[in-house]
Symmetry: C2
Subunit: 307 residues, 2 copies
């Protein structure tokens, strides 16, 4: 990926709970170089974000102190470098830019953290995101503003509505975290042989999960195995189906649902979406992130250059 013949002008940083990623960027949004580390917020000792950041970007030590630095993700949370208040819906790139907060970089200049978004969901419950709002701004830009509905699968899957390029509504589903916690710590994952993915078991789970009453339907990941409707090595496929089915059960969209994220996980969602006779379209989560950060960088150049 390294392409040092291009001229870097800024750095995009995705700093989450478990991982750190930094991208050396041209003004036009091309990536010149990339750094990754499994050094998420939880691994930063005693709030030493500045020192840790300096170490993480040390391969770029020669040039970085002249560049703008934009951060997104949980780095702007209570557990992060600075607690940046959420921006309320509707959210545009401009709203994000207006509400960025600065931190002092190790070399004395300011870096800028993009805020997360908040709004009440379908159930009038408060909902939040940090990081996905940037991917959505990128999705809007990459699709020429024609996206209306997107799903960002993951630990906390986000279902999002977009109107005229603004994020207008979203709802979180704890699908990924429930899957991980239940297979590791509940009776549903106990005494399973090595798992193999099975589309049939997965779609059986999707159909069960759509029925509602998740805390009841989950138990079928045990009983379907007990009565040999699901093979022991396919129980995780079924469980994954139940959780994704519960999430997709209420979908009723015209037009394509954009799936933004990890390719393999998006493929799994696409299978369920097509099984439900809906239309889906996969977009790379990384590309959306970088497109979103580029939009924010380009629209905020004056502000980010304040040192």
């Amino acid at each position: 990926m390294t392409n040092m013949s291009l001229k870097a002008s800024w750095v995009a940083v995705d700093w989450g709970t478990s991982n750190f990623r930094a991208f050396l960027m041209t003004p036009e949004g091309q990536t010149i170089d990339k750094l990754t580390a499994s050094c998420g917020l939880l691994a930063v000792p005693n709030g030493q974000f500045s020192d840790t950041f300096q170490q993480l970007v040390s391969p770029w030590a020669d040039s970085i102190n002249s560049l703008s630095v934009l951060f997104a993700g949980m780095v702007g949370s209570q557990q992060g470098w600075r607690d940046v208040p959420y921006v309320s819906l509707p959210v545009s790139p401009d709203a994000l830019i207006q509400n960025m907060a600065d931190v002092t970089l190790p070399w004395g200049k300011k870096g800028w953290i993009v805020p997360g978004a908040t709004g009440d969901n379908d159930f009038d419950l408060p909902d939040v995101m940090r990081g996905e709002e940037v991917q959505l701004m990128g999705l809007v830009s990459l699709t020429d503003n024609c996206v209306t509905h997107a799903i960002l699968p993951g630990t906390h899957s986000k279902h999002v509505h977009v109107k005229s390029g603004e994020l207008t509504h979203f709802q979180t589903y704890m699908t990924g975290e429930l899957f991980s916690v239940l297979k590791q710590h509940s009776i549903l994952g106990r005494q399973l042989p090595e798992q193999q993915h099975c589309d049939t078991s997965y779609l059986l789970g999707v159909d069960a999960g759509r029925k509602g009453a998740l805390s009841s339907v989950l138990f079928s990941a045990r009983t379907q195995r007990l009565f040999n409707h699901v093979a022991p090595e396919n129980v995780e496929s079924y469980l994954s189906g139940v959780l994704i089915g519960a999430e997709l059960g209420t979908l009723n969209e015209d037009g394509p649902i954009y799936l933004v994220g990890d390719e393999k996980l998006c493929q799994r969602y696409l299978l369920a979406i097509e099984h439900l006779d809906l239309q889906g379209k996969i977009m790379s989560g990384d590309e959306c992130f970088l497109a979103g950060m580029t939009t924010i960088y380009q629209q905020s150049r004056n502000r980010c250059h304040v040192a």
Copy 2:
């Protein structure tokens, strides 16, 4: 509890995944003595159920080899002493008796394991219980056959319909296990101070949980705290409310709903049930278990005495 002036004629054993309990009983169903141990199935080494049972009941060694022994619970599962097939709905005491399976006790006589029950639930998914069927038979007997709907809260909460003294339908909700797993292993329980129960937070959770889409509503156990709608020390009360609300959300019953189980947990369910303008009535889980085992013992005396 020991009352050795009464004459023992049989032993009721509740042997589950985590705990062992045995009751020395009179023919009429009075308890003479009780043994408890945290020696559930998972603690029995290499399938040595006979040896383990002998150790557990050694305080009764003088008399037990002349008594009938009835077992209920997970001791009749794949992981137990003997895998006793489930009985299909509808289930009466007679159906349980006809399908009991024997094991050879350490002193050579036969002991009898009461089978569990199975049936398709509201979602046409297979459902199972082991142990609760005995409590239900006891509930029927203690209420003079006038129970129509009961909830047995716990790790895997059971919602049950009864008609003319027979168990006709039931549905499992993984409420207790989800609560335990989520507070210990998910973001919802992370970095919480010492918890205090709070009815207001609990009922706020019940109202949220009733709304459906559990994998989404669960996330509000994080956001309600983030926006100070729920105090950090009351998050578990709220989470408990969400899970119980999700379970109770579809209830629509005339007549009282019997709550069978641990007093404290039943009180918590009762609070939610009354909040939903329904009627509840608490019955001791232990009393129901012993009444159910007594019904089975009395109706099966000839068979159980086969040695």
